[in-house]
Symmetry: C2
Subunit: 193 residues, 2 copies
Protein backbone atom coordinates (compact mmCIF):
# COMPACT_ATOMS: atom_id res chain seq x y z
CA UNK A 1 0.00 0.00 0.00
CA UNK A 2 2.90 2.33 0.75
CA UNK A 3 4.30 1.68 -2.68
CA UNK A 4 0.94 2.45 -4.29
CA UNK A 5 0.64 5.68 -2.35
CA UNK A 6 4.07 6.83 -3.36
CA UNK A 7 3.23 6.15 -7.03
CA UNK A 8 0.29 8.47 -6.64
CA UNK A 9 2.28 11.10 -4.75
CA UNK A 10 4.84 11.11 -7.55
CA UNK A 11 2.03 11.56 -10.06
CA UNK A 12 0.48 14.48 -8.15
CA UNK A 13 3.75 16.26 -7.55
CA UNK A 14 4.38 16.11 -11.29
CA UNK A 15 0.89 17.26 -12.34
CA UNK A 16 -0.46 19.52 -9.60
CA UNK A 17 0.54 22.64 -7.70
CA UNK A 18 0.13 20.97 -4.29
CA UNK A 19 2.64 20.97 -1.46
CA UNK A 20 4.13 17.70 -0.21
CA UNK A 21 1.84 17.82 2.83
CA UNK A 22 -1.29 18.37 0.76
CA UNK A 23 -0.26 15.57 -1.56
CA UNK A 24 0.11 13.10 1.33
CA UNK A 25 -3.25 14.23 2.68
CA UNK A 26 -4.92 13.69 -0.69
CA UNK A 27 -3.23 10.33 -1.20
CA UNK A 28 -4.29 9.20 2.29
CA UNK A 29 -7.94 9.97 1.67
CA UNK A 30 -8.18 8.19 -1.67
CA UNK A 31 -8.98 4.64 -2.54
CA UNK A 32 -6.03 3.05 -4.36
CA UNK A 33 -6.57 -0.53 -5.55
CA UNK A 34 -4.46 -3.36 -6.91
CA UNK A 35 -5.89 -5.69 -9.55
CA UNK A 36 -4.43 -8.93 -10.80
CA UNK A 37 -3.84 -9.41 -14.55
CA UNK A 38 -7.02 -10.58 -16.39
CA UNK A 39 -9.36 -9.20 -13.72
CA UNK A 40 -12.54 -7.96 -15.39
CA UNK A 41 -13.25 -4.71 -13.56
CA UNK A 42 -16.47 -3.89 -15.39
CA UNK A 43 -18.86 -5.92 -17.54
CA UNK A 44 -21.21 -4.76 -20.30
CA UNK A 45 -24.58 -4.15 -18.67
CA UNK A 46 -23.07 -2.90 -15.40
CA UNK A 47 -23.50 0.71 -14.33
CA UNK A 48 -20.29 2.72 -14.64
CA UNK A 49 -19.92 3.92 -11.05
CA UNK A 50 -16.13 4.32 -10.96
CA UNK A 51 -13.36 5.96 -12.91
CA UNK A 52 -9.68 5.13 -12.67
CA UNK A 53 -6.33 6.86 -12.76
CA UNK A 54 -3.72 4.26 -13.65
CA UNK A 55 -0.55 4.38 -11.58
CA UNK A 56 0.90 1.13 -12.87
CA UNK A 57 -0.21 -1.48 -15.40
CA UNK A 58 -2.53 -1.55 -18.38
CA UNK A 59 -6.31 -1.70 -18.84
CA UNK A 60 -8.23 -2.59 -21.99
CA UNK A 61 -11.81 -1.69 -22.89
CA UNK A 62 -13.64 -3.90 -25.36
CA UNK A 63 -17.08 -4.82 -26.64
CA UNK A 64 -18.37 -8.26 -27.54
CA UNK A 65 -20.30 -8.27 -30.79
CA UNK A 66 -21.54 -11.38 -32.59
CA UNK A 67 -19.47 -13.39 -30.13
CA UNK A 68 -16.24 -11.55 -31.00
CA UNK A 69 -14.20 -9.20 -28.82
CA UNK A 70 -13.37 -5.82 -30.33
CA UNK A 71 -10.76 -3.82 -28.46
CA UNK A 72 -11.73 -0.18 -28.12
CA UNK A 73 -8.84 1.30 -26.16
CA UNK A 74 -5.75 0.53 -24.09
CA UNK A 75 -4.94 2.69 -21.07
CA UNK A 76 -1.55 2.82 -19.39
CA UNK A 77 0.35 4.70 -16.66
CA UNK A 78 -0.89 8.23 -15.93
CA UNK A 79 -3.96 7.82 -18.13
CA UNK A 80 -7.41 8.21 -16.69
CA UNK A 81 -10.31 5.98 -17.65
CA UNK A 82 -13.90 7.14 -17.40
CA UNK A 83 -15.94 4.86 -19.64
CA UNK A 84 -19.04 6.19 -21.45
CA UNK A 85 -21.92 6.49 -18.99
CA UNK A 86 -19.65 7.16 -16.00
CA UNK A 87 -21.74 8.62 -13.20
CA UNK A 88 -24.97 8.27 -15.17
CA UNK A 89 -27.68 5.65 -14.88
CA UNK A 90 -26.75 4.10 -18.21
CA UNK A 91 -25.45 0.51 -18.41
CA UNK A 92 -22.02 0.13 -19.96
CA UNK A 93 -21.62 -1.19 -23.50
CA UNK A 94 -18.00 -1.95 -22.70
CA UNK A 95 -15.98 -4.41 -20.67
CA UNK A 96 -12.90 -3.21 -18.81
CA UNK A 97 -10.15 -5.69 -18.09
CA UNK A 98 -6.58 -5.73 -16.76
CA UNK A 99 -4.02 -6.62 -19.42
CA UNK A 100 -1.36 -6.58 -16.68
CA UNK A 101 -1.31 -6.40 -12.89
CA UNK A 102 -2.63 -2.89 -12.34
CA UNK A 103 -2.66 -0.25 -9.61
CA UNK A 104 -5.23 2.53 -9.93
CA UNK A 105 -6.73 5.39 -7.97
CA UNK A 106 -10.49 4.91 -7.82
CA UNK A 107 -12.81 7.85 -8.44
CA UNK A 108 -16.58 8.14 -8.06
CA UNK A 109 -18.76 11.21 -8.60
CA UNK A 110 -19.04 11.49 -4.79
CA UNK A 111 -15.28 11.29 -4.24
CA UNK A 112 -14.73 13.81 -7.03
CA UNK A 113 -17.22 16.25 -5.49
CA UNK A 114 -15.72 15.83 -2.02
CA UNK A 115 -12.16 16.28 -3.29
CA UNK A 116 -13.02 19.37 -5.35
CA UNK A 117 -14.61 20.84 -2.26
CA UNK A 118 -11.60 20.24 -0.07
CA UNK A 119 -8.99 20.98 -2.73
CA UNK A 120 -10.48 23.43 -5.22
CA UNK A 121 -7.18 23.48 -7.15
CA UNK A 122 -7.97 19.92 -8.15
CA UNK A 123 -10.78 21.19 -10.36
CA UNK A 124 -8.53 23.06 -12.74
CA UNK A 125 -6.05 20.17 -12.65
CA UNK A 126 -8.90 17.81 -13.68
CA UNK A 127 -10.02 20.22 -16.35
CA UNK A 128 -6.53 20.29 -17.81
CA UNK A 129 -6.36 16.49 -17.67
CA UNK A 130 -9.80 16.17 -19.20
CA UNK A 131 -8.77 18.43 -22.06
CA UNK A 132 -5.79 16.21 -22.76
CA UNK A 133 -8.10 13.20 -22.77
CA UNK A 134 -10.32 14.93 -25.34
CA UNK A 135 -7.30 15.72 -27.47
CA UNK A 136 -6.35 12.04 -27.41
CA UNK A 137 -9.82 10.82 -28.30
CA UNK A 138 -10.11 13.30 -31.11
CA UNK A 139 -6.78 12.21 -32.52
CA UNK A 140 -7.93 8.60 -32.32
CA UNK A 141 -11.06 9.44 -34.30
CA UNK A 142 -9.09 11.39 -36.89
CA UNK A 143 -6.53 8.60 -37.26
CA UNK A 144 -9.26 6.01 -37.53
CA UNK A 145 -11.09 7.85 -40.26
CA UNK A 146 -8.00 8.94 -42.14
CA UNK A 147 -5.47 6.15 -41.94
CA UNK A 148 -5.21 2.53 -43.07
CA UNK A 149 -4.52 -0.17 -40.47
CA UNK A 150 -0.86 -0.18 -41.54
CA UNK A 151 -0.58 3.58 -41.14
CA UNK A 152 -2.23 3.34 -37.71
CA UNK A 153 0.19 0.60 -36.68
CA UNK A 154 3.18 2.72 -37.73
CA UNK A 155 1.77 5.66 -35.79
CA UNK A 156 1.39 3.45 -32.70
CA UNK A 157 5.01 2.30 -32.93
CA UNK A 158 6.01 5.96 -32.80
CA UNK A 159 3.51 7.36 -30.30
CA UNK A 160 2.98 4.43 -27.94
CA UNK A 161 5.91 2.06 -28.48
CA UNK A 162 5.40 0.49 -25.03
CA UNK A 163 1.91 -0.58 -25.97
CA UNK A 164 3.08 -2.80 -28.82
CA UNK A 165 5.46 -4.64 -26.49
CA UNK A 166 3.02 -5.02 -23.64
CA UNK A 167 -0.30 -6.20 -25.10
CA UNK A 168 -1.16 -9.54 -26.74
CA UNK A 169 -1.02 -9.43 -30.53
CA UNK A 170 -4.63 -10.56 -31.04
CA UNK A 171 -5.81 -7.66 -28.87
CA UNK A 172 -3.63 -5.24 -30.79
CA UNK A 173 -5.05 -6.59 -34.05
CA UNK A 174 -8.64 -6.05 -32.90
CA UNK A 175 -7.66 -2.57 -31.70
CA UNK A 176 -6.42 -1.79 -35.22
CA UNK A 177 -9.55 -3.37 -36.70
CA UNK A 178 -7.78 -6.18 -38.55
CA UNK A 179 -7.40 -9.95 -38.26
CA UNK A 180 -4.30 -11.23 -36.40
CA UNK A 181 -2.92 -12.61 -39.71
CA UNK A 182 -3.17 -9.15 -41.30
CA UNK A 183 -1.26 -7.67 -38.38
CA UNK A 184 1.48 -10.26 -38.87
CA UNK A 185 1.66 -9.32 -42.57
CA UNK A 186 1.84 -5.62 -41.68
CA UNK A 187 4.69 -6.30 -39.24
CA UNK A 188 6.61 -8.34 -41.84
CA UNK A 189 6.17 -5.64 -44.48
CA UNK A 190 7.41 -2.94 -42.12
CA UNK A 191 10.41 -4.94 -40.90
CA UNK A 192 11.57 -5.32 -44.53
CA UNK A 193 11.52 -1.56 -45.13
Amino acid sequence: MDGMNSDFERFLSKHSPFTKEQISEIAESLDIREYKKKTVILRAGDLVTECYLILKGCLRSYVIKDGLEKTIEFYMEEQSVALPGYGKQIPSELFLECVEDTVAVIGTPEIEAKMSNEFPELISASLKMTEDVIDNYQSTIVDYKMDSAEERYIRLTKERPGLIQRVPQYQLASYLGVQPESLSRIRRRISKK
Copy 2:
Protein backbone atom coordinates in the same frame (compact mmCIF):
# COMPACT_ATOMS: atom_id res chain seq x y z
CA MET B 1 -25.63 41.31 -31.92
CA ASP B 2 -28.52 41.50 -29.46
CA GLY B 3 -29.95 38.31 -30.91
CA MET B 4 -26.61 36.53 -30.60
CA ASN B 5 -26.23 37.65 -27.01
CA SER B 6 -29.66 36.42 -26.06
CA ASP B 7 -28.90 33.01 -27.64
CA PHE B 8 -25.91 32.79 -25.33
CA GLU B 9 -27.82 34.02 -22.29
CA ARG B 10 -30.44 31.34 -22.92
CA PHE B 11 -27.67 28.75 -23.12
CA LEU B 12 -26.04 29.87 -19.86
CA SER B 13 -29.27 30.07 -17.93
CA LYS B 14 -29.96 26.48 -18.98
CA HIS B 15 -26.49 25.14 -18.16
CA SER B 16 -25.06 27.24 -15.33
CA PRO B 17 -25.98 28.35 -11.82
CA PHE B 18 -25.53 32.07 -12.63
CA THR B 19 -28.00 34.84 -11.91
CA LYS B 20 -29.51 36.86 -14.76
CA GLU B 21 -27.15 39.76 -13.94
CA GLN B 22 -24.06 37.56 -13.95
CA ILE B 23 -25.16 36.02 -17.21
CA SER B 24 -25.53 39.41 -18.92
CA GLU B 25 -22.14 40.41 -17.55
CA ILE B 26 -20.52 37.24 -18.92
CA ALA B 27 -22.27 37.58 -22.27
CA GLU B 28 -21.17 41.22 -22.56
CA SER B 29 -17.52 40.39 -22.00
CA LEU B 30 -17.35 37.57 -24.55
CA ASP B 31 -16.62 37.58 -28.24
CA ILE B 32 -19.61 36.23 -30.15
CA ARG B 33 -19.15 35.92 -33.91
CA GLU B 34 -21.31 35.30 -36.96
CA TYR B 35 -19.96 33.28 -39.87
CA LYS B 36 -21.48 32.86 -43.31
CA LYS B 37 -22.14 29.36 -44.66
CA LYS B 38 -19.02 27.80 -46.29
CA THR B 39 -16.61 30.03 -44.34
CA VAL B 40 -13.45 28.07 -43.61
CA ILE B 41 -12.66 29.06 -40.01
CA LEU B 42 -9.46 27.04 -39.71
CA ARG B 43 -7.14 25.39 -42.25
CA ALA B 44 -4.82 22.42 -41.82
CA GLY B 45 -1.41 23.79 -40.89
CA ASP B 46 -2.86 26.70 -38.88
CA LEU B 47 -2.37 26.86 -35.12
CA VAL B 48 -5.55 26.13 -33.19
CA THR B 49 -5.83 29.33 -31.17
CA GLU B 50 -9.62 29.38 -30.69
CA CYS B 51 -12.40 27.13 -29.51
CA TYR B 52 -16.09 27.61 -30.19
CA LEU B 53 -19.41 27.17 -28.49
CA ILE B 54 -22.07 26.96 -31.17
CA LEU B 55 -25.20 28.98 -30.51
CA LYS B 56 -26.71 28.52 -33.95
CA GLY B 57 -25.70 26.68 -37.11
CA CYS B 58 -23.43 23.78 -37.93
CA LEU B 59 -19.66 23.31 -38.26
CA ARG B 60 -17.80 20.45 -39.89
CA SER B 61 -14.23 19.30 -39.30
CA TYR B 62 -12.47 17.41 -42.07
CA VAL B 63 -9.07 16.32 -43.33
CA ILE B 64 -7.85 16.26 -46.90
CA LYS B 65 -5.96 13.10 -47.72
CA ASP B 66 -4.79 12.06 -51.19
CA GLY B 67 -6.85 14.96 -52.51
CA LEU B 68 -10.07 13.72 -50.89
CA GLU B 69 -12.04 15.30 -48.04
CA LYS B 70 -12.85 13.04 -45.12
CA THR B 71 -15.40 14.41 -42.67
CA ILE B 72 -14.37 13.86 -39.08
CA GLU B 73 -17.21 15.45 -37.12
CA PHE B 74 -20.28 17.68 -37.32
CA TYR B 75 -21.01 20.12 -34.49
CA MET B 76 -24.36 21.76 -33.91
CA GLU B 77 -26.20 23.99 -31.39
CA GLU B 78 -24.89 23.82 -27.81
CA GLN B 79 -21.87 21.76 -28.81
CA SER B 80 -18.38 23.00 -28.13
CA VAL B 81 -15.54 22.57 -30.57
CA ALA B 82 -11.91 22.48 -29.45
CA LEU B 83 -9.95 20.82 -32.24
CA PRO B 84 -6.86 18.72 -31.42
CA GLY B 85 -3.94 20.98 -30.60
CA TYR B 86 -6.14 23.75 -29.19
CA GLY B 87 -4.00 26.11 -27.14
CA LYS B 88 -0.81 24.24 -28.02
CA GLN B 89 1.86 25.11 -30.53
CA ILE B 90 0.87 22.25 -32.82
CA PRO B 91 -0.47 22.93 -36.33
CA SER B 92 -3.95 21.56 -37.02
CA GLU B 93 -4.43 18.45 -39.13
CA LEU B 94 -8.05 19.45 -39.61
CA PHE B 95 -10.06 22.03 -41.49
CA LEU B 96 -13.09 23.60 -39.81
CA GLU B 97 -15.86 24.94 -42.01
CA CYS B 98 -19.40 26.28 -41.66
CA VAL B 99 -22.02 23.95 -43.12
CA GLU B 100 -24.64 26.64 -42.38
CA ASP B 101 -24.60 30.29 -41.30
CA THR B 102 -23.24 29.94 -37.79
CA VAL B 103 -23.13 31.97 -34.56
CA ALA B 104 -20.52 30.95 -31.99
CA VAL B 105 -18.94 32.15 -28.76
CA ILE B 106 -15.19 32.35 -29.26
CA GLY B 107 -12.85 31.03 -26.59
CA THR B 108 -9.07 31.27 -26.29
CA PRO B 109 -6.86 29.97 -23.49
CA GLU B 110 -6.51 33.61 -22.30
CA ILE B 111 -10.28 34.23 -22.30
CA GLU B 112 -10.83 30.93 -20.51
CA ALA B 113 -8.27 31.80 -17.82
CA LYS B 114 -9.73 35.31 -17.37
CA MET B 115 -13.29 33.98 -17.16
CA SER B 116 -12.42 31.25 -14.66
CA ASN B 117 -10.77 33.88 -12.52
CA GLU B 118 -13.75 36.20 -12.55
CA PHE B 119 -16.37 33.46 -12.39
CA PRO B 120 -14.91 30.42 -10.63
CA GLU B 121 -18.24 28.59 -10.99
CA LEU B 122 -17.51 28.47 -14.72
CA ILE B 123 -14.71 25.97 -14.05
CA SER B 124 -16.98 23.24 -12.77
CA ALA B 125 -19.50 24.07 -15.52
CA SER B 126 -16.71 23.59 -18.09
CA LEU B 127 -15.60 20.40 -16.41
CA LYS B 128 -19.13 19.03 -16.65
CA MET B 129 -19.34 20.06 -20.30
CA THR B 130 -15.92 18.62 -21.03
CA GLU B 131 -16.97 15.31 -19.50
CA ASP B 132 -20.01 15.21 -21.79
CA VAL B 133 -17.73 15.88 -24.75
CA ILE B 134 -15.54 12.95 -23.71
CA ASP B 135 -18.58 10.73 -23.42
CA ASN B 136 -19.58 11.69 -26.95
CA TYR B 137 -16.13 11.07 -28.40
CA GLN B 138 -15.86 7.73 -26.67
CA SER B 139 -19.23 6.67 -28.03
CA THR B 140 -18.12 7.72 -31.49
CA ILE B 141 -15.03 5.55 -31.20
CA VAL B 142 -17.03 2.59 -29.89
CA ASP B 143 -19.62 2.93 -32.66
CA TYR B 144 -16.94 3.28 -35.27
CA LYS B 145 -15.12 0.15 -34.17
CA MET B 146 -18.23 -1.89 -33.51
CA ASP B 147 -20.79 -1.00 -36.14
CA SER B 148 -21.11 -1.22 -39.91
CA ALA B 149 -21.80 1.96 -41.90
CA GLU B 150 -25.49 0.97 -42.11
CA GLU B 151 -25.71 0.48 -38.34
CA ARG B 152 -24.01 3.83 -37.79
CA TYR B 153 -26.44 5.52 -40.17
CA ILE B 154 -29.42 4.04 -38.31
CA ARG B 155 -27.95 5.21 -35.02
CA LEU B 156 -27.53 8.73 -36.42
CA THR B 157 -31.16 8.83 -37.55
CA LYS B 158 -32.13 8.10 -33.95
CA GLU B 159 -29.57 10.15 -32.03
CA ARG B 160 -29.02 13.13 -34.32
CA PRO B 161 -31.99 13.20 -36.71
CA GLY B 162 -31.43 16.93 -37.40
CA LEU B 163 -27.97 16.23 -38.73
CA ILE B 164 -29.22 14.01 -41.54
CA GLN B 165 -31.60 16.73 -42.73
CA ARG B 166 -29.11 19.56 -42.45
CA VAL B 167 -25.84 18.39 -43.99
CA PRO B 168 -25.05 17.59 -47.65
CA GLN B 169 -25.25 13.89 -48.45
CA TYR B 170 -21.67 13.61 -49.74
CA GLN B 171 -20.42 15.00 -46.42
CA LEU B 172 -22.60 12.59 -44.50
CA ALA B 173 -21.24 9.72 -46.61
CA SER B 174 -17.64 10.68 -45.88
CA TYR B 175 -18.55 11.01 -42.18
CA LEU B 176 -19.83 7.43 -42.26
CA GLY B 177 -16.75 6.33 -44.19
CA VAL B 178 -18.60 5.22 -47.34
CA GLN B 179 -19.02 6.40 -50.92
CA PRO B 180 -22.10 8.56 -51.66
CA GLU B 181 -23.55 5.69 -53.76
CA SER B 182 -23.28 3.33 -50.80
CA LEU B 183 -25.11 5.83 -48.62
CA SER B 184 -27.91 6.01 -51.21
CA ARG B 185 -28.14 2.20 -51.19
CA ILE B 186 -28.25 2.19 -47.38
CA ARG B 187 -31.07 4.75 -47.41
CA ARG B 188 -33.06 2.74 -49.98
CA ARG B 189 -32.64 -0.48 -48.00
CA ILE B 190 -33.81 1.19 -44.78
CA SER B 191 -36.80 2.89 -46.38
CA LYS B 192 -38.04 -0.51 -47.62
CA LYS B 193 -37.97 -1.99 -44.10
